[in-house]
Amino acid sequence: MVIKVAICDDVPIIVKEIEELLLEYDSSLFEMDIFYNPLRLIESLEEDTYDIFILDMEFPNLLGLEIAETIRGNNYTSPIIFITSFKEYMEKAFKVNTFDYILKPITKSKLHAALNRAIKYLDLNESKFTFTFNKVFYSLPLSDIIYFEKNKRKVFIHTPSDTYETIFHTKALLSKVNDNFVQVHTSFVVNVRYIKQVRNNTVTMKVNDKQTVDIPISRKFKDHAKKQILMKLRDFIY
C-alpha cells in the first residue's frame, strides 16, 4: 500500500524538511510528488490524483486557499494539510474542508500527529464487505456503504449509487463490519462517516451532495450509539 502525497511549497528547505519527516514516519509508505510552483500542481491534477496534500498557505502570487479550492473541485475527500506561519488566516480555510494545519516551524511531533490522523481517516486497509445474493458474489468497500437496513431476514445495503440485498443475521452482519459502523436501531446499522446530524431520535445520513436520509434511533441503542459516534468522529478531528 502506497500513499500518494503532493507537497507544494516554494521554499526548497521547507520541502526538504517535510520530505525527511515523511521518510522518518515510514520510509516506504509514501510516494511523494514535489511542486515548487502551485500552478504545476494544478496542471498535474488533470491526470493524477493524490491521497494527501501538504500545501503552503502563502505563495507570492497565489493563495494556498485558491489551490485548495481547485483541488476540491476535482477531488472531494483527500485530506489537505496546510503549512502556515499565520494562524490568523487559518479560519478562512474551513471552506475547503481543511484537514489540519501546521504552524511553522514544522516539527516532527506536529507533522506526525497530523499524518497519524490523516492515515486513520484514509482507512487504507480498505476492508471489503462480501456477500452473495442470487448466487452472485459481491464485494463492496466498507467505506462505500452508508447504512444497513434489516427487514425480517433480508438486509438492504445502501450505497451512494445503489441498494443491494442479501440475507444475514444482525450478529453476523456486525461481525463483518469495522468500528466505523454503529448500530442505532434493531434494524439499522450506520456508517459514522456519512453522518450529517444527530437529533433526539433520528440520525441524518448524507447520501450525496444534495440528498440526505433520516434513520430512526431507538431508545435501547441511543446512549451507547451516540457515544460511539462521538468517539469515532473524534478520532478524525483530534
Partner: protein, 306 residues
C-alpha cells in the same frame, strides 16, 4: 365637591413635579407616569371617603355613586396596567443596555490588547536587530548549535506571547480572560483552536459551554494540592462540518470514590449537556490514566445552509 378637590390636588402635584424637575431632578420625568402613580392613592382615598360619607350626604342619587366607583376602579386598573407595561419596557431596555455594556467592555478590552500588542511589536522590532547581531556573531564564530537554540528560543517566545485563538473577537477575548484567570491561579490553560470563520451557533452558546467546562476543570485542578503540574488542555477544532470541543485536566483518582455524586451532577454540567443536546451535539466524559476528559461533538455547525 370631592371630585373638584381631586382635580385640584392633581394639578398641584403636577405643578410641584414640574417645578422640582426644573430645579432639582436632572432626570427626565414622564408627566403622565407621575399622574398615574399619584392618582391611584388619591382616588382610593376618595372612594373610601365617599363610601363612608355617602350614606349621610349624597343619598339622593345612589346610582351616581355606584357609577362613579365603578368608573374609578376601572380607571385605577387601567393605570396599573399602564404602569405594568412601562415597567416591562423599562426592564427590557435595562437588559438591552446591560448586554450592550458587556459587549462594549469586551471591545474595550480587545482594544487594550491591540494597544499592548502594538507596543510589544515595537519592542520586538527593537529586539530583532539585537538578535540579528547576536546571530551574526554566533555564525561568524561557527557556533551553529548555539545559533539554532537561540533561534528556537526566540520562536518559542513569539508563540508564548500569542493572544490569538480565533477571529471571533468576543470568543477570543473570552478565551484570553480564562487563560489569564487560570494563570493567576497557578494553572496553565493551553488552548488549541481551529474554528471555522462562521458558525451556525451563537457565540453566547459557545461561551456558556466553554465557560462551564473551563470553570469545572479549573475547580478540579485547584482541589489537587499535591500535584505540582496544574494544567488544563482545551481543544476546539473543526473538520467536515463538525466541531469538537475537548477539555482534559489532571485528576485525582481518589475523587472517583469520594466525590461520586459530583460526576453526574457537576455544577453547570447539566446545563452544558442540555445545550449540547438541544443543538444536535453529543456529550461524553471519561477517565484516561490520571486525566479527566470531557468531549463534545457539535455536528453540522458550519458550512452551507440547507
Amino acid at each position: 365637591m370631592a371630585f373638584i378637590l381631586i382635580i385640584i390636588l392633581m394639578f398641584v402635584v403636577i405643578l410641584i413635579i414640574t417645578l422640582l424637575q426644573k430645579f432639582k431632578w436632572k432626570l427626565p420625568i414622564h408627566v403622565f407616569f407621575v399622574m398615574v402613580i399619584f392618582s391611584i392613592p388619591l382616588i382610593s382615598v376618595f372612594l373610601l371617603s365617599t363610601a363612608v360619607v355617602s350614606e349621610i350626604h349624597v343619598v339622593n342619587n345612589p346610582n351616581f355613586i355606584f357609577i362613579c366607583i365603578a368608573a374609578f376602579i376601572i380607571y385605577m386598573n387601567l393605570c396599573i396596567l399602564y404602569l405594568y407595561i412601562t415597567l416591562g419596557n423599562y426592564y427590557k431596555q435595562l437588559e438591552k443596555t446591560t448586554t450592550q455594556k458587556k459587549v462594549l467592555e469586551a471591545e474595550l478590552k480587545y482594544l487594550q490588547q491591540l494597544k499592548d500588542s502594538q507596543s510589544k511589536l515595537y519592542s520586538m522590532k527593537h529586539d530583532l536587530k539585537n538578535q540579528y547581531v547576536v546571530l551574526l556573531g554566533m555564525l561568524s564564530q561557527h557556533d551553529i548549535t548555539g545559533a539554532k537554540s537561540y533561534l528556537q528560543d526566540s520562536i518559542q517566545k513569539i508563540d508564548d506571547s500569542n493572544y490569538f485563538f480565533t477571529n471571533n473577537f468576543v470568543l477570543n477575548y473570552f478565551l484570553n480572560e480564562k487563560v489569564s484567570t487560570a494563570k493567576s491561579n497557578g494553572v496553565t490553560l493551553s488552548v488549541q483552536s481551529f474554528l471555522p470563520e462562521e458558525l451556525h451557533l451563537d457565540t453566547d452558546i459557545l461561551a456558556v459551554v466553554l465557560g462551564n467546562l473551563i470553570d469545572n476543570s479549573l475547580e478540579a485542578v485547584l482541589r489537587l494540592s499535591h500535584f505540582k503540574e496544574k494544567e488544563i488542555s482545551l481543544l476546539i477544532k473543526q473538520f467536515d462540518h463538525n466541531l469538537l470541543i475537548e477539555i482534559s485536566n489532571v485528576f485525582d483518582r481518589e475523587e472517583i470514590h469520594t466525590r461520586k455524586h459530583r460526576q453526574t451532577e457537576g455544577i453547570g454540567i447539566k446545563n452544558v449537556k442540555k445545550i449540547v443536546e438541544e443543538h444536535g451535539g453529543i456529550y461524553n466524559q471519561w477517565f484516561e490514566d490520571n486525566r479527566y476528559v470531557v468531549s463534545i461533538l457539535l455536528l453540522d455547525v458550519y458550512g452551507e445552509e440547507d
